[in-house]
C-alpha cells in the first residue's frame, strides 16, 4: 500500500513550507503555489513527507494511502 502526497488547492495559501521541507517532491510555481509530484513515496522520503504535511499551516498538504484517493 503506497503513500502519495496531494495538495488541497482550495485550502492552500502558498505559505511554501512544504517545498522547503520536501524539495525532492515539491516545487513552487511563479506565484508561490506548490507543484506536487504525486508518484508513490519511497520509504526514505516518508518521514520528510509526514513532516512537510504537518508543517502546512492550513493542512493543505495531504499524505494519502492509495486506497483513499477519490477517482
Amino acid at each position: 500500500m503506497s503513500q502519495r502526497l496531494r495538495v488541497n488547492p482550495i485550502s492552500c495559501e502558498a505559505h511554501g513550507m512544504c517545498a522547503e521541507l520536501l524539495p525532492e517532491r515539491i516545487s513552487l510555481d511563479e506565484w508561490g503555489y506548490p507543484i506536487v509530484n504525486e508518484e508513490p513515496l519511497p520509504p526514505a522520503l516518508l518521514d520528510h513527507a509526514r513532516r512537510a504535511a504537518q508543517a502546512c499551516p492550513t493542512f493543505a498538504l495531504l499524505l494519502t494511502r492509495d486506497r483513499d484517493r477519490g477517482s
Binding site: 485550502s11 505559505h15 511554501g16 513550507m17 522547503e20 521541507l21 508543517a55
Partner: protein, 239 residues
Amino acid sequence: MTPILATGPSLYWYLTRSTGAVALLLLTAAVVLGVVDVRRWSTPNWPRFMVDALHRKVALLAMIFLALHIITSVLDTFAPISPIDAVVPFAGSYRPFWLGLGAIAFDLLIAVTITSLLRQRMGYASWRAVHWLTYASWPIALLHGFGTGSDVRTTWLLALSIACLLAVLAAVAVRVADGWPQTLGCRGAALGGAGAFSLFLLLWLPSGPLGSEWARRSGTPSSLLGHSATAGGSHGSRR
C-alpha cells in the same frame, strides 16, 4: 543569604516580577514573529518552516514563563493571591481589577495554546478565529503589568514595556497593511483600537501607575500598605 531572606522580600517576589517581565518580552516576540510568519518573510538562512517553528516555540516558552509567573505569585506570601485568581478574574483581594486583567489574558492564552496544540483535530477556520484572540490578550497583559507591577516606575521596566508596545504596534501596522484595503472594516477597527489603546496609555500612565499612591489606588489591601509612605519604590519597599 539567610538574613536577607528573613527580613527582605522573598525569593518568589523577585521571581514573579522577573518571570512576568520575561513573559511580556516573550509574548511580544511571539506576536511579532506571528506577523513575520503570516507575512511569509523568509531568507535562505531563515526558511519559512523555521520562522513558523520559531514563532510556535517562542509562544510556548512564553506560556512556560507565564506559568512560572503565576505559580511564584501564588507561592509568594506577601500578597494574598490564590490559584483561583489566576483564571477567575476580579475575585481576589490584592489589586483585584489589575490582577483580574492578568487572569483574563491568561484565559485567552490558554484557549489559544490548547487550540494550537490540538489544531490537527479542529477546522482551520475555527483555529484561526481563536488564534486572533492573541491580539486581544497582549494589551490586556500589558495593562495588567502596569497595574499590578510594583516595578513599573523603574526606568528599565518602563523602557522595556514601552519598547514592547512599540514592537507590537509596528507588528499590527504591518499586519493590517498587508492586503489593504480589503476587509476595510476589520482593518480600520484594528488600527483604531491600537491607536486608542496607545492614546489611553499616554494619558493614563502619568496619573496612574506612575503617579502618587498607586499601590493604594490600585487596590492593594490596606494591611500591606503601612510599610511604605509612597507606592512601590524601586527597591521593593513593600516590606
